[in-house]
Amino acid sequence: MNRAPLIFLSIFFALALSWTGIVLVNQISYGSLQPVYDENDGKAYPLQTPGLAARGKLVYQDLGCISCHSQQVRRLGYGSDIARGWGERQSVAHDYIREDRVLLGTMRTGPDLRNIGARQADHTWHYLHLYDPQITSAGSNMPPHRFLFETRKVIGQPSPKAIQDKLPEKYRPKAGYEIVPTERGESLVEYLLSLKDTYAYPETKNVYVEPAPEAGKEGEKK
């Protein structure tokens, strides 16, 4: 007896089931979420990523930042994302709908970056941190990104973007030289600064109720 067709059909349906359940059903149910237009602000949220930041996202992608940094905030009571100040609220599907490439990430060797633009809005901090993470975060195991900067001779006016004066002594170049971020470095910092999910969508309102003290830690409930 040749059971090959039967086996093949079953193999087909086994995967068809999860393909339908995980991919198709979700694509239909929320794969066409629209931005929310806020009449008070006159803007549609989430906001479009500005041009330079959008290029910076490509830098973020090609350097593989996702290997160590996630971009998702879990709800209050599950993990300590919110207690760490990584966001005011949990991330929701709406936050990502303008993104061509969604970089949720699965690793937190480094902190979550979903709202890094809101909690660290200082350009200089980011430049120093990228130049050598030890400057701002001693003991970090993040690699230095000195290749996003160039050391060059000052010709005429020094560049307003130069960072060498803010670097600690041992990093400074010879007199007459300056350290400036490359275009890639600049756009990456712009991207990081653009990361903030601060808008409250209808579905994010009234969902984070402080757990009652006597109830202890909420486990499975959603």
């Binding site: 694509q27 149910s29 090609d62 593989g64 996702i66 490439r101 195991n141």
Partner: protein, 506 residues
């Protein structure tokens, strides 16, 4: 009834006797020779390249200044390059070769037009080279398990189409009347992979789905690549080599079928467990968790079946290199799968998600189970296609102990490190309860980094040990091929001479 059949067999000249069987499988093995050597040779090269990438990434994790000035060697690119080199380079090449060889033997079908297969293998390897070169040059997509840029994809698809078509043809031309469980696994894997891969490429890269639907597609693909492709090929190999080396049938065909179908039904839902707590619908997460837990059924069924087959034959582990690797792989499969089920539980995931624990789990599955199984298979296949034995049993022994000890150290070390990291990172109350921190407020983030550092260093030591094993393997492999040009016949490769156990290695 049985004697009647024997009588019929003795009268019918076409019925296979042992000699006919042996001559037939020799002919089949010979037909797979060049594609198998090409695929396995590429696999070994990628294994070494992937190991170098792995060591560099591992060193960088605790010594960030190491090679810190080169953009193309930065951690994010090294890690992606490592993953793609060992997954698409080593693992897929090895699984193609093993799948093929098993398919030809089990279908009792000579491989036709093997030249085209070599062309397919060449396309695959050019595609992977292009992809990994792209990652190093800065074209990574940053989609986990799909980092290779889009321009590598057409070559990979073309190669895969040829390989898949060949396997099906081999199967269709086969003389074998019934379909052995290894063939189910291989046929299913061959069918599932292109579906997974094309949906992922289309919905994430070509016409990106909106928002976090991408994340669902990503993990549906990535976890199924492991579960439906690598696990299927690995289990297919175990189901063949275990009984083959022992010279006895598998314990229960019924259990084998049950294991296969429950795996086929449950495994493909488990990927969502990588998104627990994330911005995707909670019901899908729950479905993923349930499926992960249901995986206990196929895992136990398969484990029981393998164990019962081994029962009474554990002595053979002393002799047969193939058996030693395969059994190590089978045990690792059981353990890593049970760990996977546990990791999908919400309260456990809360601790271990986003930590090195996940990395340990991945290596337990892809290395301790799959890669070790492939090593065992290669140790069996190579002598059959080259018609000569391995040059050095000592190198095989070194290979086994270095990798077995190395990966065990790796997994144990990173699991513990990951749990500590996770407790400090995610559940300060629990961490406080276990005495890891003073208060119940989250500790500063950098403290979680520092707590993990010693474990990351030990991971590098484990990595060095594994590298030693790989080098031993590669030397033996190259030596064997070089020598095959001169030598014709040597004696059986065994760690020591078997005593009363019958090792039906031939």
């Amino acid at each position: 009834m049985a004697s009647l059949r024997n009588l019929a067999a003795s009268l019918n000249p076409a019925t296979s006797t042992d000699d006919v069987n042996r001559a037939e499988s020799r002919e089949i093995d010979a037909s797979t020779k060049w594609p198998a050597i090409f695929l396995l040779g590429s696999a070994v090269v990628w294994l070494l390249i992937g190991t170098v990438f792995a060591l560099i990434s591992s060193f960088k994790m605790h010594s960030p200044e190491f090679l810190g000035d080169y953009e193309w060697l930065t951690f994010g690119r090294m890690r992606a390059a490592h993953l793609n080199a060992v997954v698409y380079g080593w693992s897929v090449n090895a699984s193609f070769a093993v799948a093929f060889w098993l398919m030809a033997r089990l279908s009792r079908s000579v491989l036709r037009h093997s030249g085209l297969l070599i062309v397919a293998a060449a396309f695959w390897n050019i595609g992977v080279t292009l992809g990994i070169g792209g990652i190093l040059a800065g074209d990574s997509t940053s989609i986990e398990w799909l980092e290779m840029p889009l321009y590598a994809t057409p070559l990979l698809f073309l190669a895969y189409a040829l390989v898949g078509a060949w396997a099906v043809i081999t199967f269709r031309f086969g003389k074998s009347q019934h379909i052995y469980v290894s063939q189910w696994y291989i046929l299913a894997a061959l069918f599932w992979f292109p579906w997974l891969y094309s949906v992922a490429e289309i919905m994430i890269l070509l016409t990106p789905a909106r928002g976090t639907v991408q994340a669902l597609v990503n993990w549906w693909f990535a976890h199924n690549l492991i579960g439906l492709w690598f696990t299927s090929i690995g289990l297919g190999a175990i189901y063949y080599f275990l009984p083959k080396v022992l010279g006895k049938p598998i314990h229960s065909y019924y259990l084998a079928a049950l294991g296969f179908w429950s795996l086929a039904i449950f495994y493909n839902w488990t990927g969502v467990s990588h998104l627990i707590g994330g911005p995707v619908p909670v019901w899908v997460q729950s479905a993923g968790i349930v499926a992960s837990f249901m995986m206990i059924i196929p895992v136990f069924v398969t484990a029981i079946n393998h164990h019962m087959t081994m029962l009474g034959n554990f002595d053979a582990l002393k002799n047969s290199p193939t058996l030693r690797f395969i059994v190590f792989g089978a045990v690792a499969y059981t353990l890593t799968s049970l760990q996977g089920s546990l990791m999908a539980v919400r309260s456990w995931s809360e601790v271990t998600h986003f930590t090195h624990y996940t990395v340990a789990h991945a290596h337990w599955g892809m290395y301790a189970f799959f890669t070790m199984t492939m090593f065992g298979s290669i140790y069996y296949i190579m002598p059959r296609i080259l018609l000569q034995e391995w040059p050095s049993a000592k190198l095989i022994s070194l290979h086994f102990w270095a990798t077995a000890f190395g990966v065990t150290l790796y997994v144990a070390d990173l699991s513990i490190g990951g749990i500590i990291q996770g407790l400090l990172l995610n559940t300060p109350v629990l961490a406080h309860k276990f005495g890891l921190q003073e208060g119940t407020d989250p500790v500063p983030f950098l403290d979680t980094v520092k707590a993990a550092l010693p474990y990351l260093k030990w991971r590098s030591y484990a990595g060095i040990l594994i590298t030693v094993g790989h080098v031993a393997f590669a030397i033996n492999f190259v030596w064997m091929i070089v020598r095959s040009v001169e030598v014709t016949k040597t004696k059986l490769t065994l760690f020591c001479t078997p005593t009363d156990t019958e090792v039906a290695a031939r």
